[in-house]
Symmetry: C3
Subunit: 311 residues, 3 copies
């Protein structure tokens, strides 16, 4: 069963294969299952970007997307996530995409349900498709990961992305450093990269990856930190000027403008922020194809065939 | 106009015809309207299973499903249900599926709107597609209803399913008995079946149909009942051992595990709980086809035709 | 870029062209883009009718409609409307339909985003598709606007429709008068029509256009007005009897029955209320085609082609 739970659970080979498939989709490859297939997006946390991105990816693959509103679901009647997924499986849904605020929510599903689970974010844990789209964006830029220096700056403690990316980038041959408020830095990150002051990190890296301050995950105690955040740790106009030639800026979005990054830089020539969003659709197509393609009875019947009215 | 309001409004012949059509769909029959058709699911109460099941059924029939969010609809502006349905009719919707917390909500629609109404549950009243999927599940098991004994156990007072099923099963030739807390038993059920103590009911029936305790419909006064419910009236591991050979367990779900039924029994070999869910899709396809097929201009053009990319 | 922001921004020629295209769609013309196209409906205010009407229009054009739930979107995380729309653009959405409670919300979008914006209502400002469907309904009835007298009666101060309609009708050659509670009448309307007492307006107009009392936009201070509203300013059964022969009744709906109009008159022979709703779908198809058709790579490939299973 080709679940996608975390990038840590993917070998370097698997990561490269997914990126390669995503690039093919980006270049116009078409793939649709030979029979009508159903998918459901179970988002128990708010999200525009990730949910819409999955939705577009699913429609591009010709899938039927079954709406699921967590707010009006039987989960309100106390139903477990396992029973919800088994229900969807029973009515013919072929795969589920899940975002949940509980860390490792998937532990109650893997090995027990008969359809693939694609993790769209669990608590402060993993967010593999975000990680994969980041990797695709870097790969588009540099071709290879070996020898690259990537700075991950900001709210690393609450970031799903930081964990996934640090792990994958290290295995792919890049060097990762963390920066931002030191009290948000976690010992557990040390295995994938050390801490560096923000000016050094920004001036010496090929990729400056900014993280969103997750106000909604912080309790009130550290709001003092964010007030001066932009000057202390943000990508200001001054810091951008000292970046390495050709280096790029990334951010998972939504951006807090003038906090993590100066408003004027969001769409500057170094920025790959909207490119990341675009890449997300193609990475998700690759991940969904990987999940459905192993279920048998499906083949890539129309590779490189143009989308026509008849579809 | 082929509305579906209640099983009581269906003759035995009509019930059998719907079950037969559902079995055909289950075996792979394909039917799609010859022109683009629109349907809307108006759910004024939360539901995963019923709504998703209708949604899958509608997509399998190639219908365009127009999203309807009761929470953000003009009903908030004080619009009547009649005006809402007439609006949908005016913009080209060909049929509506409605779940509403008001008993007999459909009285303000029938004879006044020009499109078929499919009842997906009204208050504590009817829930005909649940009833039909239960009948299909029993028919799959036993072929015929004559001579079967069916025990309906639990919260009969608040159950739409109990009413619909008792009525239909009796007319189809089965014997129905009720069990569970006696204070939940209602005199009005007597015409379709007597009351039996729970141990006798479970040990002597071919079908043990458990009902969900509808916590959300009980006021606080009888919560004492549910605390010891599992031991007193639930399908415990001990009671299951005394069931007749070959007899089956059913439950409309969502299940309160270890209340109506022991956790371990939900997916045991006697259980048809997930089979019921699967059957629901095909019963709903049959009911929707019945509603749309009479509107003229539509025929079963592609019976048994394989689903292809071109669709 | 063929945005649709207001009727004021449309020339008389453009209005006539949209109405003409809408009539063609009403008569059965088919148009679909040659490639898969995506659209999203961003409704930040509740609406059944407008949202569903757009949805049906979009499906009739064969578009993929990406669901967008304002209540669970990243707007909750403080994202700007600009960033939301740019995100949708980045993931491949080809056009957006927006309803927002903020007047002129589109000022932060026009000239900055790369996809067309269709305004489905901004605050108390504009609502061009409602206006266009009203125009289509009048045109169907009278062929031409020249010499017609149109009375707009009711809550003109809070009405998006009043502003749009008065402007467009005047330019098309009709005479507009306003009526209703004088304290709701606004000096700024004077350029497009004077104030007339309600009995004169109703008795002498070809089109009696009633407006909805927007309870949700009034503060408590003027509820006294609405209590006697029906007798003082509503279309009572008595007033309808004095209407000109052949004159028609319009209302944007949802109707407050027995406030703006007597319950019995909502579906009387003069009423075009449900016709307006029907027309709304075809006007929206025309507006969306206009938005997408200019983006290049798309042509009307299947004009007048019958909808077939293969689509």
């Amino acid at each position: 069963m080709n679940h996608l739970i975390s990038t840590a659970s993917l070998s370097v080979e698997e990561i490269k294969k997914i990126l390669s498939q995503a690039r093919s989709f980006l270049e116009g490859e078409q793939w649709k299952p030979t029979e009508q297939q159903f998918i459901a997006n179970l988002f128990f946390e708010p999200s525009t970007r990730t949910k819409s991105s999955f939705e577009v990816a699913e429609r591009k693959l010709g899938l039927e997307v079954i709406p699921f509103d967590a707010g009006s679901s039987s989960v309100l009647k106390g139903e477990t996530l396992y029973d919800t997924v088994r229900t969807l499986e029973s009515i013919g849904v072929n795969a589920v995409v899940i975002r949940h605020d509980k860390d490792q929510y998937f532990d109650e599903l893997i090995g027990r349900v008969g359809i693939p689970v694609i993790n769209a974010g669990d608590g402060c844990g993993h967010h593999p498709t975000q990680s994969l789209l980041d990797l695709l964006t870097i790969q588009q830029e540099y071709g290879d990961f070996k020898g690259l220096k990537v700075a991950i700056i900001g709210d690393v403690r609450h970031s799903r992305v930081a964990r996934s990316n640090a792990d994958a980038l290290t295995r792919l041959g890049a060097k990762v450093v963390f920066s931002g408020p030191k009290e948000w830095f976690d010992e557990e990150f040390l295995e994938n990269g050390g801490y560096e002051d923000v000016d050094t990190a920004i001036e010496t890296s090929d990729v400056v990856m900014l993280l969103r301050i997750q106000h909604e995950r912080h309790d009130g105690s550290d709001t003092g930190v964010s007030e001066n955040y932009h000057q202390q740790f943000g990508l200001t106009i001054e810091r951008e000027k000292k970046m390495k030639p050709g280096s790029i800026i990334m951010h998972p979005a939504p951006v807090n403008r003038n906090v993590e990054i100066a408003d004027e830089l969001v769409e500057c020539s170094r920025s790959r922020i909207f490119t990341q969003m675009k890449n997300g659709v193609f990475v998700r197509m690759a991940v969904i194809k990987r999940a459905l393609d192993k279920q048998g009875g499906m083949q890539s019947v129309n590779t490189h065939q143009k989308w026509t009215i008849a579809n």
